[in-house]
């Protein structure tokens, strides 16, 4: 059996996992050894997240203090959004799956990536708002809110988006080719 036949015998799932593994290795090397030490993208996400969360809290009537990475409801010490805590790692996780999963046109893939990233950024703004409010209303629960917020805010969104992408991609794969 030659190498080409052997490649054909790899199941689609295995092929996808190898591809996803490769994409994630590249992402984490990029993230751990360039993006995180460089800090600019992290800083942008942290600053803009804090700024948007502060503006929204203000609109809803809370009196807030906001300065670069720090957001506080007046009367509290507030929360500081550090590099590595702004959802960037999770955005990479999301992107890796969408790139690696077969099917789906390039246009749909780009739209799904852009929409998903936007949604995750909005979710992060919502998470920062929850942090600031939890320090004000239930400071004793801060540790729990901080630890489990990702599980309850980010993961359901990422898993749902991944699932939707598999559905869209599979429909495209099964649809008769028109060109």
């Amino acid at each position: 059996m030659d190498a080409r036949n052997q490649t054909k015998h790899i199941s689609p799932l295995t092929r996808f996992l190898i591809m996803a593994g490769g994409v994630y290795v590249i992402w984490y090397l990029l993230y751990d050894y360039y993006l995180l030490p460089d800090g600019r993208l992290d800083a942008f996400l942290s600053y803009s997240g804090v700024s948007l969360a502060g503006s929204l809290l203000n609109v809803f009537g809370w009196e807030i203090y906001s300065d670069s990475r720090v957001l506080a409801v007046t009367g509290t010490n507030g929360v500081e959004i550090q590099n590595g805590c702004n959802g960037l790692e999770l955005i990479g996780l999301y992107i890796g799956f969408i790139i690696a999963y077969p099917g789906g046109s390039l246009y749909k893939r780009i739209m799904f990536l852009a929409g998903g990233i936007a949604l995750l950024i909005v979710a992060n703004v919502f998470r920062i708002m929850i942090f600031a409010l939890s320090i004000y209303y239930m400071p004793n629960w801060w540790e729990q809110v901080h630890t489990y917020s990702s599980y309850f805010i980010f993961y359901p969104i990422v898993l749902t988006l991944w699932y939707l992408w598999t559905t869209i991609s599979d429909q495209d794969l099964l649809a008769p080719s028109n060109g």
Partner: protein
């Protein structure tokens, strides 16, 4: 999608939410405190005793279920097996009735206990290059199991 398919899909979602809720309560209420005890009372004291004062390797950070070690390599995270990712993925596997995958993932995490222990010993003894491999592995394996769990759910929604 006809009415039968729709009601089947809704019952699958209900089942998934129920399983994940149960696992969340178990994880937050029981498993995470146990992991914290294991890290604080067993892992950290043991590592401190074998690292000693003169080693270039240091324990950088201790968290509930993980430690970061550093040296002449970037800080590397060692998370206990059977961590949150395991339980989240287990929820997906259970909902999908993927018994074979549950076994594979459980064996993987059991083997990981030994692999992490050997890995840390090697790093402390100067094989610091291995830290890079463990850093990559730490990032990759959890996501891949989760992805398999998600794909395993698909047939349930399609039936």
């Amino acid at each position: 999608m006809d009415n039968h398919q729709r009601s089947r899909s809704i019952s699958t979602i209900k089942r998934l939410i129920l399983i994940l809720s149960g696992i969340s309560v178990l994880y937050i209420g029981v498993l995470r405190p146990i992991q914290s005890i294991i890290i604080q009372n067993i892992v950290v004291p043991h590592l401190e005793s074998i690292i000693g004062n003169n080693s270039i390797v240091k324990i950088e950070n201790v968290d509930v279920d993980q430690i970061d070690i550093s040296g002449d390599f970037p800080p590397t995270k060692f998370e206990l097996p059977f961590n949150g990712w395991f339980w989240l993925t287990l929820g997906l596997f259970l909902a999908a009735g993927q018994e074979r995958l549950i076994r594979i993932m459980t064996y993987y995490h059991l083997i990981l206990f030994g692999a992490l222990y050997v890995g840390i010993q090697l790093i402390i003894n100067g094989w610091t290059g291995i830290a890079y491999l463990f850093a990559i592995h730490e990032h990759i394996y959890k996501v891949l199991f989760l992805v398999v769990g998600l794909i395993g759910l698909k047939p349930l929604f399609k039936k």
